[in-house]
Every structure is written in structure tokens, then in C-alpha cells.
């Protein structure tokens, strides 16, 4: 049975009409229409579905969308500074070779963005902990870590 509620995503309020057991990930992708957030394991293990809720990284696959009412949801589509302008994390991931298949990239960026927002000069260990909920099966991680470190130094 559907119920209606409002969801604030990237500063825009969306009216949602859906069953209350739907995950935030599924609502974002199919009702809101933002497909940058990915479904990897759908089991809270891989971090491909990472979004920010009130600026904190959360696995959206295992978070009920209805519980996000009245909170601020930020997805990969919401971190762009302006039209056609890459976010520094996006640019550095490309420059450093931290993107291969790209499926983990949106989730990696959300975790890294949350880390850098509260810690402008993280140590390598702090970057590893900040990204510890995100799996990447292509890169071997080193180039992703380098991209986050570079972004921190530039800021």
C-alpha cells in the first residue's frame, strides 16, 4: 500500500508516493529519477549506494526512504559546484586514474566528500578509515587514496 511523503534531495523537495518498506536507494533511482547512486551488493557491504543524510555518509540500500523525511539527502548529482563543472574529487579521480569501471566511484566520492568536510587535512590512515565502507574491484585503491589526498592538499 502506497503512502505519500516529502523527500528533500539535493535541496529539492520531491513528493513521494510509495510503499513504506522501500529503501532510499530504490526511491532515489526509480521515483526521484537520480541514477548516479548505484546498487552494488544491496546488502550494506559495498558502499556503491552511499549518500549523505544530514551530511553523514549512509548506505542508502539498507535505509528506509520514509525515515529520511525531514532530513537533507545529498547524492552524487548534488555535489557539483555548477553546470558542467567537475567537483575537485571527480577531477582528481580522473587525473590520478582512480576510475576504471566507475561503478564504485559515486559512493567513493560521497564518503570522501563527507570526510573532507569535517577534516580538511586527513592523514593517509584517516582517508583509509573514511573510505573503509567502500569496495572497489578494479583499481586496487591506491589511486583513489591518492586522488583524495590530492584534493585535500589543493583545498
Amino acid at each position: 500500500m502506497s503512502e505519500t511523503y516529502e523527500l528533500e534531495v539535493n535541496g529539492v523537495s520531491y513528493p513521494i508516493s510509495a510503499a513504506m518498506d522501500r529503501s532510499l536507494l530504490s526511491i532515489l533511482r526509480t521515483e526521484v529519477g537520480l541514477t548516479g547512486t548505484k546498487e552494488g551488493c544491496d546488502d550494506c557491504e559495498c558502499g556503491a549506494c552511499m549518500v549523505l543524510i544530514d551530511d553523514q555518509p549512509v548506505n542508502s540500500c539498507s535505509y528506509l526512504a520514509a525515515q529520511a523525511q525531514g532530513r537533507r539527502v545529498t547524492t552524487i548529482e548534488g555535489i557539483l559546484d555548477g553546470e558542467n563543472q567537475l567537483h575537485p574529487l571527480q577531477r582528481n579521480l580522473l587525473d590520478e586514474g582512480g576510475v576504471q569501471c566507475g561503478f564504485c566511484t559515486p559512493g567513493m566520492i560521497m564518503s570522501a566528500q563527507a570526510l573532507l568536510a569535517r577534516n580538511t587535512s586527513p592523514t593517509q590512515e584517516e582517508i583509509r578509515i573514511g573510505l573503509s565502507g567502500n569496495l572497489c574491484r578494479c583499481t586496487g585503491y591506491q589511486r583513489i587514496l591518492a586522488a583524495v589526498e590530492k584534493t585535500a592538499t589543493e583545498a
Binding site: D42, M50, V58, C61, S62, Y63, L64, Q69, A114
Partner: protein, 299 residues
């Protein structure tokens, strides 16, 4: 399925009396449902924005930690890191930053997993759970709360509102360590917590140990205090290790055989005792002990 968002403890208790089940971060409930362990309850009451459930209060002789306090806060709250360090160690090892941002101490305690990380340190710190329903409030020792894997003695209409821990004395320290195969998104293979009070000459005045993932619930090590009182921590390590291995009744599963767990729980108990005694003696060992003393998975 229905979901309502509570603004007060009374909202929650009324909903529970009507048959609803509580949800905080959903890191056990929703993940369990997605894995097919058990479907989501028909009626949920969200308790994650009840202000009275997310406070950490110092009262006369106790600290009261609201059931809705997240693991991220447990691992960084200055009072907990300073005085209840074993609990902060445990919180810092749970899941990943995203798990810790929404997962709560009340959820960890009431989910009653024998592998839960916060359970052993809470037990050594003498914590009790405060349960409330529309009709009553009661306090239960954790050993009376946990009755089996995923089982508690709480009634369905009772909400765990807070965890109450007695103030820690001078010259005391605590620590939690776990055996793990990786550093994040991991569940303890085995784990051990210790809490010790030292005399002025540095020997052990009293202490408690508790064990993770070696029994149907978190269990306290029986006879630990008697076995180590009057000894230097370094000399008590072997005694504690054999007591732990003797009392462990582990199962074999994907993460380890019973024989492996029985051996490694002794190693972990001795390391927890070492870290707790060093902290009691004034040494600053950062949270979590696993990372700062090189215990567990390598980088």
C-alpha cells in the same frame, strides 16, 4: 507495512503497546530483512529523532547513555573516551563510518548478537539496561537481559531507553580487542574486554573480563577478579588466558572453528587485560586499541 516517526519516548511506548517494533538506524533490522533472515515488521516506529534517547548524561555516580546514541558518538565523546574507553574501542570497530553514523548502542544491545562488539566492554563496566513501557520502568543487568543468540528477556512492549554505567574509580582503565580478518565491515571472530582497578603500587586491586563470540551470549569470565587480585597485570596474563580458554564454549562456523576460537580467546583476553592495565596506570593508548597496538587485521 506502516512506519511512523516518533518525537518523544511516550510516542514510542504507545506505539510499542499497540504492537509496533522500534527502528533506529536499521543496520540490523533492514539489512536482516534484505538478506531474508526475517521480514520487516508490519508496523515500525522510528526512534532516531527522539531527543531524550540521544543524550549522554552524567548523574550522581553514573553515566546514562541514551539508547539512540550512535557508534560515531560513542567512539568520540570525550567523557566516554576518557573514562569508559573499552566502550569507545568497541564502537570504533563496528562496521564502517556509515554503519557507525546510524547504528546505535541500544540497537546493538537489544539485537543481542553473541558477536556484538559493545556487549563485552559494557559488561566489564557493570552496565545495566533501562527498559520502559507505558506501565513501568525497570533496570536489568546485561547478564539477565541476554538469554540467547538474538534473544532478550525484554517484553515486546518495552523500549531500552538508556544504558546506565557506574562511575569508574581512580586508577582504573578498560579496553576491548577483537580478532578480525579485515579492518572494516567485520564481525568479531572472538573478542575480549577488560576493566581493571590498580592499587597505588600498580598491582591489580580488582578487575572484570568478558568475552565475545565464544558462547550463545556475551559472557563474563567467572573468577577473573579473584585470579588476578594482588598480581601485576603482566603476571596475570597467563592465568587469565587459560581461564578464558577453559570457559569458552564456542561454535564452529565460517569465521573460525571452535578449537581456533577457544585458543584465540585466551590470547585476546590477555591482550585486553594488558591494554586495560596500561590505561589504568596512566598510559595513553588511543581508540581503538586494535589499531594502536597492532592487534587484528594488518593494513
Amino acid at each position: 507495512m506502516s512506519l511512523a516517526i516518533a518525537n518523544s519516548i511516550d510516542d514510542v511506548l504507545t506505539a510499542l503497546a499497540g504492537g509496533a517494533r522500534p527502528i533506529a538506524g536499521g543496520t540490523d533490522l533492514v539489512v536482516g530483512a534484505r538478506q531474508g533472515k526475517s521480514p520487516l515488521p508490519e508496523s515500525l516506529i522510528a526512534i532516531d529523532r527522539v531527543p531524550a534517547l540521544s543524550t549522554i548524561e552524567q548523574t550522581d555516580g553514573h553515566v546514562r547513555i541514551g539508547a539512540g546514541v550512535t557508534h560515531s558518538r560513542l567512539m568520540s565523546d570525550p567523557l566516554l573516551v576518557e573514562r569508559y574507553t573499552g566502550l569507545a574501542d568497541a564502537a570504533a570497530l563496528i562496521g564502517s563510518p556509515s554503519t557507525r553514523n546510524v547504528g546505535t548502542i541500544g540497537g546493538n544491545v537489544m539485537n543481542a548478537s553473541p558477536a556484538m562488539d559493545t556487549g563485552a566492554p559494557l559488561m566489564t563496566l557493570g552496565a545495566i539496561a533501562e527498559l520502559r513501557s507505558v506501565s513501568h520502568t525497570r533496570q536489568l543487568a546485561l547478564s539477565d537481559l541476554w538469554t540467547g543468540p538474538g534473544q532478550t528477556s525484554a517484553n515486546p512492549d518495552e523500549l531500552c531507553v538508556c544504558i546506565v554505567i557506574p562511575q569508574t574509580p581512580a586508577y582504573s582503565g578498560s579496553a576491548y580487542v577483537r580478532l578480525e580478518y579485515r579492518r572494516a565491515m567485520e564481525i568479531a571472530v572472538v573478542g575480549a574486554a577488560a576493566s581493571v582497578v590498580l592499587t597505588e603500587d600498580g598491582t591489580i586491586a580488582s578487575g572484570r573480563l568478558a568475552m565475545t563470540a565464544v558462547a550463545p551470549t556475551i559472557v563474563e569470565l567467572v573468577g577473573a577478579s579473584e585470579a588476578m587480585t594482588g598480581m601485576a597485570a603482566v603476571d596475570a596474563a597467563d592465568v587469565i588466558a587459560s581461564l578464558a580458554s577453559d570457559q569458552a564454549v564456542p561454535i564452529s562456523d565460517l569465521r573460525g572453528s571452535d578449537r581456533y576460537r577457544r585458543h584465540t580467546i585466551g590470547v585476546m583476553a590477555a591482550r585486553a587485560l594488558d591494554a586495560a592495565a596500561r590505561r589504568a596506570g596512566g598510559e595513553r593508548i588511543g581508540v581503538p586499541v586494535n589499531r594502536n597496538l597492532g592487534i587484528g587485521a594488518a593494513r
